[in-house]
């Protein structure tokens, strides 16, 4: 064999003994397998985390643009012409760029509708002012070409008159009794529906349209310019909301660029419009401002004014109801099962039952909520409870109950028996021991469990869809029996809207929802970590 020197090492064991060589190879293979296995497990975990990262980044990317909204600095000319054609209030270069909502706002700002109605002051008017309005007879004096005359029933007239006018008539009669018995034509302020009808011929029911049309023809109804405010006509310069197509173009979305259409002239933003928008942007007349509408407005048919405030309020209200229902019943049930229940068939049934409830798909709770609460409400004559917070809250409460029961039971079980026995030794009853010793000791566990249960309930959509909380809710609810929607339901309905501008709002709403859920979970974690009690 060779001598050890600077270049040759001592002969290895492998060279000395062939059996050891085989063993060493096997051993190395086993070690390699071990290393690979560990690598796979780490990889699995990393894939899950990578997904979370990709997911969050994508959502932030999609939702962040919604924080800003395009606005245009434009002149609005409030003149008598604007009454008939609100579009003409805007100069030509911004007319097709402003949001539809701004046009309607201009129209209601520049003047109001007026209608002549026949008013008859009687005793009944003091009780119910709508009694003042009587049928309106149109004769050939009003409309020369009207051959047979026309009577517009008072129910139709009431639709054309602004409700505040009725109150005013009532006040007039009360303060001036000499009006009693008078029957004459009076000019009253028109209702918003009449105002809309006079502008674009929509907004009124079929039956009323004919009468309103005749009134318009005979000049007994019409728009009146708000001269007090605007004098002969005034022009103001202000920032108004841009149309959502402009907003999407400005944010650089590919689908809004004229080039992505087969015929750019038919695109929502034509090349000419695009050039104009770019020019205005460079001049500083178009800007992307903070989208405060998102946090103050309710749902809307136009993306630029859509907001999630009612959804936030609704979520808080529904969760409040869930907490109110779940916590007492859940804690009481857990106390019963842990401390008082005898080991018989009833207890076993209840326990099996709770475990099964925890695993039932959430959509079936929606079915129960629909059948039980909604039809129950109808029976009781409380009206249609379909889209209300109380039904949503009750349905979610049933769903969260098993979760809270299971976690509360774990918290109660974690309290050592020695505490209970000490209490009994001092002569306390079981209930006294529970209320004065076990419950206070397990309170942090109970809180953790309920917060996690609440966080889960906050994200539930399927049962609420069935119970009807995915409706168009433009106003925040003021009580548990008002129509409500919740954040996940709002996300769902925005995702389903045709305008793509709603997608970025849905993504932003998702970020808000995720933030709330994460904060709740974080609070629960902190509580759990803080209260690592050592017995």
């Amino acid at each position: 064999m060779s001598q050890p020197d600077a270049f040759n090492q001592a002969p290895s064991s492998a060279e000395r003994d062939p059996r050891w060589a085989r063993e060493s190879l096997r051993l190395r293979r086993r070690y390699a397998k071990d290393k690979r296995f560990r690598f796979y497990t780490v990889l699995a975990l990393l894939i899950a985390f990578a997904f979370l990262a990709v997911f969050l980044i994508d959502l932030v990317r999609r939702g962040a643009p919604a924080l800003r909204q395009a606005e245009i600095l434009t002149e609005i000319a409030y003149t008598p012409d604007t009454l008939e054609k609100p579009l003409n209030a805007f100069p030509e270069d911004t007319r097709d760029l402003v949001s539809d909502t701004v046009r309607w706002a201009v129209r209601s700002e520049v003047g109001w509708a007026e209608v002549t109605a026949r008013v008859h002051f009687t005793e009944q008017v003091k009780e119910d002012p709508s009694n003042a309005i009587v049928d309106m007879k149109l004769t050939t004096d009003d409309l020369p070409f009207l051959f047979d005359g026309l009577t517009i029933p008072r129910e139709h007239m009431l639709q054309l008159i602004d409700p505040s006018e009725l109150g005013r008539l009532q006040q007039e009669l009360i303060s001036d009794p000499s009006l009693m018995g008078k029957n004459e034509r009076v000019i009253l302020r028109g209702s918003p529906a009449l105002q809309q009808f006079l502008t674009d011929s929509t907004g009124l029911d079929e039956a009323v349209v004919e009468g309103a049309g005749r009134l318009d023809e005979s000049d007994l109804a019409g728009m009146r310019f708000n001269a007090e405010k605007f004098g002969e006509g005034k022009s103001v310069e202000q920032w108004v909301l841009a149309h959502h197509d402009v907003d999407q173009y400005l944010k650089g979305y590919k689908y809004m660029k004229p080039e992505s259409y087969p015929d750019p002239e038919l695109a929502p933003i034509t090349p000419e419009m695009a050039k104009r928008i770019d020019r205005l942007y460079d001049e500083g007349k178009i800007r992307l401002a903070f989208n405060h509408y998102f946090f103050t407005n309710g749902d809307s048919k136009t993306p630029e004014t859509a907001g999630m405030w009612p959804a936030i309020v609704g979520s808080v209200m529904v969760l409040g109801i869930v907490l109110l229902l779940c916590l007492p019943i859940g804690v009481l049930t857990s106390i019963y099962l842990e401390e008082f229940a005898p080991d018989n068939i009833v207890t076993q049934t209840i326990e099996v039952n709770i475990n099964n409830l925890a695993a039932i798909p959430s959509i079936l709770f929606g079915v129960l909520g629909l059948v039980a609460f909604v039809t129950f409400g109808e029976w009781m004559g409380w009206g249609n409870l379909r889209t209300t917070a109380i039904v949503g809250g009750a349905t979610l409460a049933l769903m969260t109950l098993p979760v809270i029961i299971i976690s509360t039971r774990a918290a109660l079980r974690a309290v050592p028996d020695s505490i209970r026995r000490a209490g009994h030794a001092m002569g306390a009853t079981r209930w006294q021991v529970v209320v004065h010793h076990v419950l206070p000791a397990s309170i942090s566990g109970i809180m953790t469990g309920s917060i996690i249960g609440l966080a889960q309930a906050m994200g539930e959509t399927a049962p609420l869809i069935i119970v009807g909380l995915v409706a168009f809710v433009p106003e925040a609810p003021t009580g548990p029996v008002d129509p409500t929607t919740v954040m996940p339901a709002q996300i769902f309905s925005w995702w389903g809207m045709p305008q793509r501008a709603f997608q970025e709002r849905a993504a932003l709403a998702i970020l808000v929802l995720l933030a709330v859920v994460f904060i709740l979970n974080a609070i629960a974690l902190v509580i759990r970590a803080r209260s690592e009690k050592s017995w």
């Binding site: 071990d34 690979r36 560990r38 497990t41 780490v42 990889l43 699995a44 975990l45 899950a48 985390f49 997904f51 979370l52 994508d58 959502l59 019943i329 009481l332 049930t333 008082f340 229940a341 209840i350 039952n353 709770i354 475990n355 099964n356 409830l357 695993a359 039932i360 798909p361 959430s362 959509i363 079936l364 079915v367 629909l370 059948v371 039980a372 029976w379 004559g381 109950l401 966080a455 994200g459 539930e460 959509t461 399927a462 869809i465 009807g468 995915v470 009580g479 548990p480 029996v481 996940p488 769902f492 995702w495 993504a507 998702i510 929802l513 995720l514 859920v517 994460f518 979970n521 974690l525």
Partner: protein, 437 residues
């Protein structure tokens, strides 16, 4: 003389609920009543407690501590009112009598006061208040526990009742084996337009079941290996510090609402898959089964992982150590000793995850469609999608289309219950008993 007239007037006034109804926003009314009752309860508690302490001062020995007498008074005050409310509720639901809400509010104020007066007289040293109060408490606890039974019964009954009405008109066999699902015709038939084109009403649910199972299979293909492997890492390899970091992140993944997953699946993942397959020349629908399947799998990973983690952590250390003592590597120990020991738990975790996937709604409603096809690359649908589709909108319970949603709900319920039961049985029967267990 005037008494019969006033009496009949009062009685007819009472019967015509309208005249005596308080017109107040219901929340305000309920809130005010609750507040008044709380104050009454406080007053009653204090009064009887003070009286008891006074009795004790005269030297008599009490049977219970004074606060129990206080609670005795509170219970006695409100039990009659609660009983009266139950009676009123039954009267109203069976439409025997329409009770104006004045009566309800009055009963919660007047009855407690009357009861308080009567109870105060009964308070004496001999009264065993504690026993009486604790009996009531026990009844309340039992009642709370029975609410969960009520819930299950409610779900079962509501689904069963309407499903029976459905199956009166549709053959069960056809439902379970037919391959065409087009309930739309039922709506038109109900409206008397059953002769129009394309109204072949069929309720063959096989394609729906297939869709559910297909998406569930894809989901479990993602969730099972990733969930199990990450659980192995967490229980065998991870140090305490790593565990403290990774557990919250996994819980974060578990806390993400399903509507968010659905949004991501529909908006980002589905187009990705369509683009990926078109690179190979295959055309995929935007409502394919793969996108919701993958996302559902990711959603289930934390669920599967935490269940498997619990199971594997509960395998005792000594058999692991015995394996190391024989010279095994960690991988061999896990693969040949720990996993087989934990197998029943892992199988049970798997079944529970499948049950969860089957019942999932939002992800499929947003990422899958309504058409059922055999290939995962084409449009797909599930049972839950059709439950939602047929139950929203104007529900007329006589409409066969709406009833079909209930029958689908019943199928879903039975499937998930069966999986849960099997999973529990697997754990119970095959759980290995270790030394000292």
């Amino acid at each position: 003389m005037l008494i019969p007239e006033t009496f009949s007037a009062a009685w007819s006034l009472a019967l015509s609920g309208e005249a005596l109804t308080i017109h107040m926003h219901p929340t305000v009314l309920v809130g005010a009543t609750v507040l008044i009752c709380a104050m009454l309860a406080g007053v009653g508690y204090q009064l009887s407690k003070r009286k008891t302490i006074a009795i004790r001062r005269t030297g008599l020995e009490l049977n219970s501590t004074p606060d129990y007498y206080g609670w005795y008074a509170v219970v006695a005050m409100f039990m009659p009112a609660a009983f009266a409310s139950v009676v009123i509720l039954t009267l109203e639901t069976t439409n025997v009598l329409d009770v104006p809400n004045t009566v309800v509010v009055a009963s919660w104020i007047v009855l407690p006061l009357v009861a308080l007066a009567l109870v105060m007289r009964r308070i004496s040293a001999k009264l065993n208040a504690r026993v009486l109060v604790e009996r009531v408490i026990y009844a309340v606890l039992l009642g709370a526990a029975l609410i969960s039974i009520l819930t299950t019964a409610g779900i079962l009954l509501s689904v069963l009742f309407e499903s029976v009405r459905f199956f009166e008109q549709v053959n069960v066999f056809e439902f379970l084996t037919g391959t065409t699902w087009s309930p739309g015709g039922a709506f038109l038939e109900g409206a008397g337009r059953g002769d129009e084109q394309g109204t072949e009403t069929e309720f063959g649910a096989v394609k729906l079941f297939y869709g559910t199972l297909l998406i569930t299979a894809i989901a479990m293909l993602v969730a099972a290996p990733l969930g199990l492997l990450s659980a192995i890492y967490m229980s065998e390899y991870a140090s305490k510090r790593v565990r403290r970091l990774t557990k919250p992140i996994l819980e974060m993944l578990a806390g993400i609402p399903t509507v968010v997953y659905g949004f991501f699946a529909a908006i980002t993942v589905a187009p990705l898959i369509v683009d990926a397959t078109s690179a190979f020349g295959v055309s995929t629908s935007y409502q394919n089964a793969i996108a919701p399947g993958i996302i559902m799998g990711v959603m289930i990973i934390p669920f599967m992982s935490s269940l498997c983690d619990d199971v594997m952590s509960s395998v005792p250390q000594n058999i692991r150590r015995a394996s190391y003592a024989m010279g095994s590597t960690k991988a061999e120990t896990v693969k040949k000793i720990v996993l087989p020991a934990a197998l029943p738990g892992v199988i049970s975790a798997f079944l529970l995850s499948v049950s969860r996937a089957i019942g999932e709604t939002m992800i499929v409603v947003m990422a899958a469609g309504y058409q059922a096809n055999w290939s995962p690359l084409n449009g797909s649908t599930t049972v839950t999608v059709h439950i939602v589709a047929n139950m929203t909108g104007d529900k007329e319970y006589d409409n066969l289309q709406t009833l079909s949603a209930f029958s689908l709900g019943l199928t879903l319920l039975l499937m998930t219950l069966a999986l849960n039961v099997i999973s529990a049985v697997v754990i119970r029967k095959f759980r290995q008993r270790y030394e000292g267990d």
